[in-house]
């Protein structure tokens, strides 16, 4: 089956600045991929290269098998895009903008558009200049989803939306997924990515740091363990796979990578009173990649 998105050594530089190092990424049809990275990591550059808005310095980007750099118009026939910044013609009304965008897109499910207008509590009769940032974003979201495009590329799509509208957005993405649409979701909101994505890709300093399902990522990442003892805790730092040991009185916190069996053996023999362990959240995974080093660091692959 042809991938919805496939990049092969896709790279972009601005003068001497390498914004995107050779990137290999594949998004399967019908998949929701969360695309994570801090500011300046190269998320938007990747998307602009995918859409042909920026010319790749090297490599190839395909959308449903069509070379998106060489034939952007053809590639875009199956794509709907929502940018993070909603720039719309200020003199048009919301309805006029939706009409124009649907005509340019060439596809429209008008019943679904009306449903989305209701769901997002959007008043399309006002001029764009009178809309708040969130309302301008709604215009683009409604236009994108009501096109029923096979691939939705969403770049920080919930910027400016309130929590209720963000819930409506999640509902809409879930519907798109059920219909078999592919969603490429670039976001800073980790809970959103965690809730919606089948897989997550993390980009760092223009380089792909990690790709996989959340389960895979968690398996490869550390498990948090919090143990309370009846007496003085044993030394856990020598146990294979155990790191970041913190001792506070009778309480110990640590991280475990790989098998937990050696740790459990020591704990069972040391009179552990209470034991808590949990998988890392996406936020912890993300911070594990970025928390210890400043953004724009070496860009070397991390973890995994």
């Amino acid at each position: 089956m042809v991938a919805a998105i496939r990049t092969e050594r896709l790279a972009k530089s601005f003068g001497r600045t390498l914004a995107l190092r050779p990137l290999d990424l594949e998004v399967a049809e019908g998949e929701v991929l969360g695309f994570l990275g801090p500011n300046g990591a190269g998320k938007t550059t990747t998307i602009r290269c995918l859409l042909g808005l920026a010319r790749a310095s090297a490599g190839r980007a395909e959308i449903f098998g069509v070379d998106a750099q060489a034939h952007p118009g053809e590639a875009h026939r199956r794509v709907a895009y929502v940018p993070g910044e909603a720039n719309l013609w200020p003199r048009l009304t919301g309805e006029e903008a939706l009409h124009l965008l649907s005509r340019v897109q060439g596809k429209l499910d008008s019943a679904y558009r009306d449903e989305l207008i209701g769901r997002f509590q959007f008043d399309p009769s006002k001029r764009v200049r009178a809309y708040s940032k969130g309302n301008r974003q709604k215009v683009l979201l409604i236009a994108a989803f009501s096109s029923r495009a096979d691939l939705l590329i969403l770049d920080e799509p919930t910027t400016g939306l309130d929590p209720l509208m963000e819930q409506a957005f999640r509902e809409t993405v879930a519907e798109a997924r059920q219909r078999g649409q592919t969603v490429f979701l670039s976001s800073h909101i980790l809970s959103e990515v965690e809730a919606l994505s089948d897989r997550v890709a993390i980009i760092r300093a223009g380089e792909l740091a990690e790709v996989g399902t959340l389960a895979q990522m968690r398996h490869l990442s550390a498990l948090s363990v919090d143990a309370t003892f009846d007496t003085t805790p044993p030394d856990l730092s020598k146990i294979p796979g155990v790191t970041a040991v913190e001792v506070q009185g009778n309480r110990v916190r640590c991280q475990v990578v790989g098998s937990v069996e050696p740790l459990l053996g020591v704990l069972a023999a040391s009179g552990v009173h209470q034991l808590l362990s949990r998988e890392p959240s996406l936020e912890e995974l993300f911070l594990a990649h970025y928390g210890s080093e400043p953004a724009g660091g070496s860009g070397a692959p991390h973890g995994g």
Binding site: P72, G73, W89, K126
Partner: protein, 555 residues
């Protein structure tokens, strides 16, 4: 890392830092910088035109007889009075210089003032930058005061440059203007700019968008002009000049018995408008107009059927305004051509046209000369379309189209086609308008075919400008608009200089406006038309290719 703050105890006292003061004046500095930049350009143009007329008087009218005949012909003509205002003492250099460019400068100054004010006040609100200012150490009212003060700084520069060049030209032995007369003339020539800076400032507070503020200001300007024209052309209604701000300016009578009295209503009106602007700014919401407008409007889906027609929706009123304006201006030139040609006893227009490659005299020479101005305007209109095209990209609107089924080349080709259509219709309106004007005044010495050729002739440089603009836009989008406007302005200035004095033809050839000859005073120059259009087509093609191969560039 915080900004360094220096406490200036000596000058500010009580812990008010220099940084604080700078922060409090940021609106003034930002507005003044941009107003002054624009004023430098226009001040040089104003002063240059005045000096040029003063220095060229003796050559144009060398004898007392020629001056008397010119005064008789110009002074008694209503059509000329409507365009240029009432002529006084036209048989003297003072009267001639005061009249020849004064009417034009009053109108151009008013338009400059209006557009500068709405751009720097309302335009800043439209883009959201004003909100950033207001989030700093100021409030709505103080920001408006600073904005108006910044505009005033621009006006001062406009006046200083106009006055300096007028004084330099006036100090020439053959001209002999006193310094005070030159300074007063410069004040009179720029007074309308001051008034309409204030009109624009108030309109910026009343209207909810810059476009509507411009419309409001244009209505005031149109009404003022109409009253002034009636007062100057209908016998017995001269008193009506006191009803129009432009009439007050005319009543200053610079160089011909200066009358400072009208400065009182000019200053009072300006101050009142500025004060009202400040008061309204303090009472309304930022981003909104002073009047509550309906929140919802009925959708109008015309011209929204696809990207190809979108340009019509976005630019139709601008284009229509240009086409009608060009047609009306050409008609006015046609109306006055006969009288002007008869009054041109010394043949200075023929000489100017001769320098530009023309051989005909009389009405044809006059039309050929005046259409050089129209050619510059059509070129400016074309540069405006390139600017609007760049604006679609810079503001991010284009992204919405190009991420859909719209090829870059097709989009840009659509914009080019629209600009070319504007040029074509502008040229047609020019030719037809000029012919109608000639026919209405009974100066039918130039036929419709020749006038349509003259209209065609003004199109060609504009199409070359379009080619150059598309090429620059494709290659270097951020530089395209300033470079294009600069090249059109340069071309205009060189054409003016080249028509005034004998110059090296290499120098003259750097202007885009001097290659074709002043039709109908010359034949159409098909070789020049051929290479200019050929170059335009090649440049457009190269620009299209470059545009499809580069990154989109934000502002």
């Amino acid at each position: 890392m915080g900004a360094e703050v220096t406490v200036d105890e000596e000058h500010g006292g009580r812990g008010v830092s220099i940084a604080d003061r700078r922060a409090a004046l940021v609106v003034f500095v930002a507005t003044a910088k941009r107003a002054v930049r624009s004023a430098i350009l226009w001040g040089l143009l104003f002063g240059g035109l005045i000096a040029q007329e003063a220095l060229g008087y003796e050559r144009g009218f060398p004898t007392a007889e020629s001056r008397e005949q010119m005064a008789e012909a110009f002074g008694g003509n209503s059509a000329l009075a409507a365009v240029a205002g009432e002529g006084r003492q036209l048989d003297t250099i003072q009267g001639f210089v005061a009249w020849r460019v004064f009417g034009l400068l009053i109108i151009v100054g008013a338009v400059w003032g209006l557009l500068a004010a709405t751009r720097l006040l309302r335009g800043e609100e439209d883009t959201g930058r004003w909100e950033l200012f207001l989030a700093g150490r100021t409030n709505r009212r103080h920001a408006a005061v600073q904005g108006i003060a910044g505009l005033t700084a621009g006006f001062v520069v406009l006046w200083v440059l106009t006055a300096a060049l007028t004084a330099v030209g006036g100090s020439n032995g053959k001209v002999g203007f006193s310094l005070s007369a030159s300074l007063f003339y410069a004040a009179a020539a720029t007074a309308s700019a001051l008034i309409f800076l204030a009109v624009g400032a108030l309109a910026s507070q009343l209207a909810p968008t810059r476009r509507q503020a411009n419309g409001l200001g244009a209505a005031v300007l149109g009404l003022s002009l109409l009253i002034r024209m009636v007062a100057d052309t209908v016998e017995g209604l001269g008193w009506m000049r006191w009803l129009s701000p432009l009439g007050w300016v005319e009543n200053l009578h610079p160089l011909t018995g200066s009358q400072p009295l009208p400065l009182i209503p000019i200053v009072l009106l300006t101050a009142a408008l500025a004060a009202m602007a400040v008061i309204v700014a303090g009472r309304r919401d930022v981003g909104a107009g002073a009047f509550i407008r309906p929140q919802s409007v009925e959708p109008n889906l015309r011209w929204l059927g696809g990207q190809g027609v979108l340009v019509v929706r976005l630019e139709r009123w601008v284009a229509l305004g240009w086409i009608l304006g060009l047609g009306m201006l050409a008609a006015m030139f046609g109306v006055v051509a006969g009288v002007a040609a008869e009054a041109n006893l010394a043949g200075d227009v023929e000489q100017a046209v001769g320098r530009l490659g023309g051989s005909e005299g009389g009405v044809a020479a006059w039309i050929g000369y005046e259409f050089m101005y129209i050619a510059a305007l059509v070129a400016f209109a074309t540069a405006g379309q390139v600017s609007a095209t760049r604006g679609e990209e810079a503001d991010g609107y284009l992204d919405n189209l190009l991420v859909r089924d719209v090829a870059r080349g097709r989009w840009l080709a659509g914009r080019v086609a629209f600009a070319a259509a504007l040029v074509a219709l502008g040229g047609l309106a020019t030719g037809l308008g000029g012919w109608i004007g000639l026919a209405a005044a009974g100066s039918g010495k130039v036929g419709i075919v020749a006038m349509l050729q003259a209209g065609w002739n003004v199109m060609v440089p504009a199409l070359f400008v379009l080619g150059l603009g598309v090429f620059l836009y494709g290659l270097a989008p951020r530089l395209a608009v300033p470079v294009l406007y600069a090249s059109v302005l340069w071309s205009f200035v060189i054409a003016i200089v080249g028509s005034t004095i004998n110059t090296n033809h290499w120098f003259l050839d750097t202007s885009l406006l001097t290659h074709l000859g002043p039709v109908p005073a010359s034949d159409l120059s098909w070789p020049a038309i051929g290479w200019m259009l050929g170059a335009a087509v090649i440049a457009i093609f190269a620009g299209l290719v470059a545009f499809t191969r580069r990154d989109l560039a934000s502002a």
